[in-house]
């Protein structure tokens, strides 16, 4: 707890001192004032000798003391209010204003993983604040399902629709592969990733952290326009980090195969990460890891947050003021 206007109590004390001095001066003259304006009476002992008078006078003095106390305390509260009691904290706000593009390979082998990813993001959607999420699916051509948006209700609906579609292999509801088979070949990863990178809006001056969650097994079938490496360079140029989730087909000796290693190299270069999907790593856990890695990258600048706390003081001051008015009315000052 600190005072923003630290000089206010000093000023108030000075004013109070001046007030006391004026009061004393006034009091010195009050005798003359009494004689000028007052009603002179004699033999007040007729009244003052009554025991009841003494009792009433004692009560009067007690009330006066009460009024004085309340007024002093209320003034103190007022001075505290005027000096702005506040707390000073250093906060390091996390940047939530990220853009996340889900970039899903929808070739037949990936639908399981895709379903888990969209499911995870669908359940995450309700906790998002300020982040934008987009979804692009690709196979031989890329389709932007929805662009980056913070309409989380819409995001959730779309993701849920796609999840159901993935789970049922396109049997029920929407056919997830619609529009992704217009190119030559299948699983053109480089083209898909490039489409995703170009799906971010704004130019390079945008300060929002950009990341792509790429789900693919990196088995390319055909000749893409962009190779994976070129797509990685494009991502780096656009300052987009790519996080790859790969259902790695670990070979018998427990090491990832060459295509997985190739993918890992590319995404590591963009500043992102590679997560192999094994039996121990579930999709939600990986998404959490990605989230942690991103959060570590983008925390806002340390800021000094000064916040006033006038609430209790205002309430106390008002109550005291009302009490003092009541008492003043009671003692007829």
């Amino acid at each position: 707890m600190e005072l923003i206007f630290w000089w206010m109590p000093l000023a108030a004390a000075a004013v109070a001192g001046g007030g006391v001095w004026l009061y004393l001066a006034w009091r010195r003259r009050s005798r003359a004032r009494l004689q000028r304006d007052g009603v002179p009476v004699a033999h007040s002992e007729r009244l003052t000798e009554l025991p009841e008078y003494q009792r009433v006078l004692r009560r009067y003095r007690a009330l006066l003391a009460g009024v004085l106390t309340i007024v002093v305390v209320a003034s103190g509260v007022g001075v505290l209010l005027a000096s702005r009691v506040s707390s000073v904290e250093v906060v390091q706000p996390q940047s939530y204003k990220r853009d996340i593009m889900l970039c899903l390979d929808v070739s037949g082998s990936m639908t399981d993983v895709d379903a888990k990813i969209v499911d995870t993001f669908a359940s995450l959607a309700k906790n998002l604040h300020g982040e934008r999420v987009g979804l692009t699916v690709f196979d031989s051509s890329a389709v932007q399902v929805f662009p980056l948006t913070d309409d989380y209700d819409y995001v959730k609906t779309e993701l849920t629709t796609y999840r159901d579609s993935f789970r049922s292999q396109g049997e029920s509801g929407l056919r997830y592969w619609t529009g992704t088979d217009l190119g030559e070949g299948a699983s053109l990863i480089g083209d898909g990733l490039s489409s995703c990178v170009l799906g971010f809006d704004g130019d390079s001056s945008s300060k929002r952290p950009k990341s792509i969650v790429l789900a693919t097994d990196n088995y390319v079938n055909g000749s893409p326009i962009f190779t994976l490496k070129q797509a990685g360079d494009l991502a780096t140029k656009h300052d987009v980090r790519v996080y790859a989730i790969d259902p790695v087909d670990y070979s018998a000796d427990g090491t990832p195969d060459t295509v997985a290693t190739q993918l890992k190299d590319v995404v590591d270069k963009t500043g992102g990460g590679f997560y192999g999907l094994s039996s121990t790593d579930t999709v939600p856990a990986i998404v959490q890891k990605i989230d942690d890695q991103e959060a570590g990258l983008f925390t806002g600048a340390r800021r000094l947050v000064v916040s006033d706390h006038p609430g209790p003081l205002v309430v106390a001051g008002l109550l005291l003021l009302m009490a003092s008015f009541g008492l003043l009315w009671r003692v007829r000052l």
């Binding site: 002179p40 009476v41 004699a42 007040s44 009244l47 009841e52 009433v56 009067y60 009330l63 007829r332």
Partner: protein, 295 residues
């Protein structure tokens, strides 16, 4: 200049009917005791005169009632004892200044006395000491006496000291006189009683109390009420207390009744008035009471 005496006389005729004034004069004429049989002259009967003083033979001859005037009763000495302390500058029951009422009362009785051929002297006193002014009969003399009272009673005058005043009179005034004591609701103690007993042995004493203001009355928008003795304000909060008001009224009435009773025990007639309008009827009542008490 239009002096205080003139003002007093004007007020007397404003506040009283001609008949009341006649009654007052008659009452004054009859309060003196100690007639000799030294017959002096006759004068017209004034209501209030003793019926037994009527000279029936002369009346029969004259056609109008005439009363005998005796030398002993012809020339009396009226001494005005006026408390001139600052208490008397305070407010009276009616809201007027007690000083005005005191001057009015003293002036009224004095002017009646001089019309009767009596001489009037004045003794004033407060804590600063007492002072006597010699007897006189003329209007100028009365005017001077009233001015003394007027000038001495001020809010910054010394405090009231009725005891000192009575003491001075007891020691200094040797001529048998009619004493009119003009003071306020002073509480009479044993010392007062002792001095009054001494005075009573030599003089006729009549006591005029000018009622003090009701301390508990709400004065509307007027300023704070303060006691002249200590110059200390009486808080409005205390004065507005209803229970206290009742008790105060009770106590105030008790004080008035007590002092009247104590004075009566000493053979001193007393009366309490609260305003200038009360002066003439008050004086009349006082003299009437005095006349009855003598019998």
């Amino acid at each position: 200049m239009a002096g205080l005496l003139y003002r007093v006389k004007t007020k007397m005729s404003i506040f009283a009917h001609r008949k009341t004034l006649d009654l007052l004069e008659g009452g004054y004429a009859s309060v003196h005791r100690g007639r000799s049989h030294d017959f002096d002259d006759l004068r017209a009967y004034v209501p209030g005169d003793e019926v037994k003083d009527i000279d029936w033979k002369a009346t029969a001859r004259h056609g109008e009632p005439l009363v005998k005037r005796y030398i002993a009763s012809r020339r009396h000495n009226l001494a005005l004892l006026v408390d001139t302390g600052r208490n008397m500058a305070a407010t009276a029951e009616s809201g007027e200044s007690k000083k005005d009422i005191a001057i009015m009362a003293a002036g009224a009785l004095a002017s009646i006395a001089t019309q009767h051929g009596d001489v009037v002297s004045l003794i004033v006193g407060d804590e600063g000491g007492s002072r006597s002014y010699p007897s006189g009969q003329k209007d100028e003399h009365l005017e001077r006496l009233l001015r003394v009272v007027d000038e001495r009673i001020r809010l910054d005058a010394p405090r009231s000291d009725v005891l000192g005043l009575l003491d001075t009179v007891a020691r200094q005034l040797t001529i048998r006189s009619l004493l009119l004591v003009v003071t306020d609701d002073v509480r009479l103690g044993d010392e007062h009683m002792r001095l009054l007993r001494r005075l009573r042995a030599r003089h006729e004493v009549i006591w005029l109390t000018i009622g003090d203001a009701d301390l508990m009355r709400q004065e509307g928008s007027r300023g704070p009420v303060y006691d002249v003795q200590e110059v200390a304000a009486l808080p409005a909060y205390v004065r507005s207390n209803r229970a206290l008001r009742g008790l105060f009224e009770e106590a105030a009435v008790q004080t008035v009744v007590d002092s009247e009773r104590e004075l009566r025990l000493l053979g001193i007639t007393s009366h309490r008035i609260g305003s200038q309008a009360d002066v003439v009827p008050g004086l009349f009542a006082l003299l009437e009471k005095q006349r009855r008490a003598e019998r």
